[in-house]
Symmetry: none
Subunit: 196 residues, 4 copies
DNA sequence: ACATAAACGAGACGGTACGTCTTGTCTTGCG
DNA sequence: CGCAAGACAAGACGTACCGTCTCGTTTATGT
């Protein structure tokens, strides 16, 4: 004898998808602070009220899109060849390219801007990159425990990952290129100086 | 025998100061994205055109105020007692309080938001905290070279400082509190695990 | 079986009225070129966009108010006692007072200024005064056909009316008072010299 | 032993001419209400203060240019062939062309707009057209006294001229074309119906 | 099947802020 | 001391969005 609470139509999944899709497209195109709810509604073919009914702010839309993996996708997975220095180096090169690419330039900063007024975005941004899933940075570092000077048993894996990601954000904010030298230095910070 | 390039009135220093002052006050009060140029002009008793004549955007105003030390001031200097672990711990406690305080909450995120559309702000933010002046983090770490496991001769001081600051920004974005455990972990990332 | 062309909210008649009312009040108070759209919006308790949505310029607002009879009203009707000379004289005295009165001073010139960038205003201004409704000048002259030297069968009634109104506008522009002598002369121009 | 009343340079005639010239050019190009004092100063190569020092408003500049004959020039002189009907017809055709021409379109309305906030402009506008110099309308009508039905001895010449000019202004304001029919009607108003 | 009622698209509304333009005054240094 | 140049406080311009609110239409239940 389950009772339904009300009659009438349910939330339109098509509208939800269209909104998220329009949001991430326009985020990439115009950046977070030229992203307008009216623009999203118009591009998604949706009334503004449909957005306001389900989300509190535009940052909440971004947070949801981020959670669904619609933004960063799998572009930033850390490889695992067994050699953690090589893997980190490879990954940092990939990240560096995203930071500089025409589509990524601005995207990362846009996400930071979104995080600025929505803690969820910040958390999901951190989890998505440093987090503990498969392909995530923490996981990769954990697998290397014992093999590098800075990664003894009990090393603060999560904090190392966080510091690494933080350093990348800082570079994104100051538009410093992530060149070979910087990459080597970051690897050294994370796992220790190369053996002689 | 300097020659002046033109005649006519000269930039009003009083107006410049009033604008910067009004900007940082309102930044602290209302956050970066409720900071309005009209509001700054009105609070500074200045015409809008006087702002647009000299700055390209509100983030440029913040960048200039930051450069003049009107925002972070000397609140974030790293102490130097000779014991780098103790000094970092003390400093991180101070930073943690700024991040949580009613006046600092939002201020750091506001600066990040400003950095989001102005590379200068990002650079000055980094320099102001990680930079190499007296009382700056890099300087303090350099002084400790040789005394800690992660700080041998040739350690990538600047990158360590950057990673530390980045980690703090990331915590600011995700509103993670900077508790004793996190502080200890960050110290370990920077200078290595405590000796037995 | 009329079909509506779209769904959604409908134009607010209250806002429209408030805008027209505010516009004519401020026109009388401050004159056409100190009439600001922002001022109208503010006095009408309306957003600026609500004005721009429906009118192209401030002169279009004046044109509409004029069309609705909100400005000149019935102040300028030509009387009809059967004696066209007496009627014109009476009417010109009334017009002269409007031109000189504190509320009319400026109002007529303001309407001329509005006509300056909106043909509709010019047309409605002409129609409202010279036009062919009941109480209008043309009508009164037509009724007098055959009774005066300049008004034989086939006289160019409309052009006489237009010339008369034009002469009044020219006096308004040059701030020449409309004294008894001028009135008599204008009557003579319109209907001919008095009989001996 | 003439004494000068003060030291220092004297009003620059070159600047005065440049200002008047720039003003009438821009008046023709952009219309009275897009005519900006800054624009005049800039085009004339003059400081704004030099304008404000000598004129109270932009309409005063127009008034002065009008007085000097820099605007209407001799374009509107009434011919005198001895046949007043023909002369008026010719003149009205010329006026009609000015009203419709690309350079005159707007110019007349601009002058009306200027008259709107400067009685001098109105007066000079009337005098320049209806006035009593050689080639002026009143003069031409006076010469025809006795030869036409509406022009007996003692006819109100000045008022007829004024009514005619007023009718033209009204047509300029309402953008009514001055076609052959209208011209014939105006001639009839001024001098009476054509003889059978 | 029908009534109910929520979700929808559209978009008008009162507002705030934008970045630009112009006003009239003031300031500086040249001639 | 007149002038060209131009900074200044003030404030209106017309545009872009905000978040709320009405419309009229379109579904999905519950009766």
């Amino acid at each position: 004898m389950a009772v339904s609470s009300r009659s009438g139509p349910v939330r339109s999944e098509a509208a939800r998808q269209a909104i998220l899709q329009a949001a991430i497209e326009m985020l990439a195109e115009r950046g977070y602070d030229h992203l307008a709810i009216e623009g999203i509604a118009s591009r998604a073919g949706v009334g503004k009220q449909t957005i306001y009914r389900w989300w509190k702010s535009k940052s909440a839309i971004i947070a949801e899109a981020l959670l669904e993996g619609m933004i960063l996708g799998e572009r930033l997975e850390v490889p695992d060849t067994g050699d953690v220095r090589r893997d980190l180096t490879t990954w940092l090169h990939a990240v560096g390219e995203v930071l500089l690419s025409s589509q990524g330039e601005g995207l990362v900063r846009s996400l930071i801007a979104a995080a600025t007024d929505n803690a969820d975005v910040g958390q999901r941004l951190r989890d998505a990159i440093a987090g503990s899933g498969s392909g995530a940075l923490s996981t990769r570092l954990a697998a290397a425990i014992g093999s590098e000077p800075h990664l003894p048993e009990g090393a603060p894996i999560d904090d190392i990952a966080e510091a690494l990601v933080g350093a990348l954000l800082l570079r994104a904010l100051s538009r410093s290129p992530l060149d070979d030298h910087a990459i080597a230095a970051l690897v050294a910070v994370a796992v220790g100086p190369p053996r002689a």
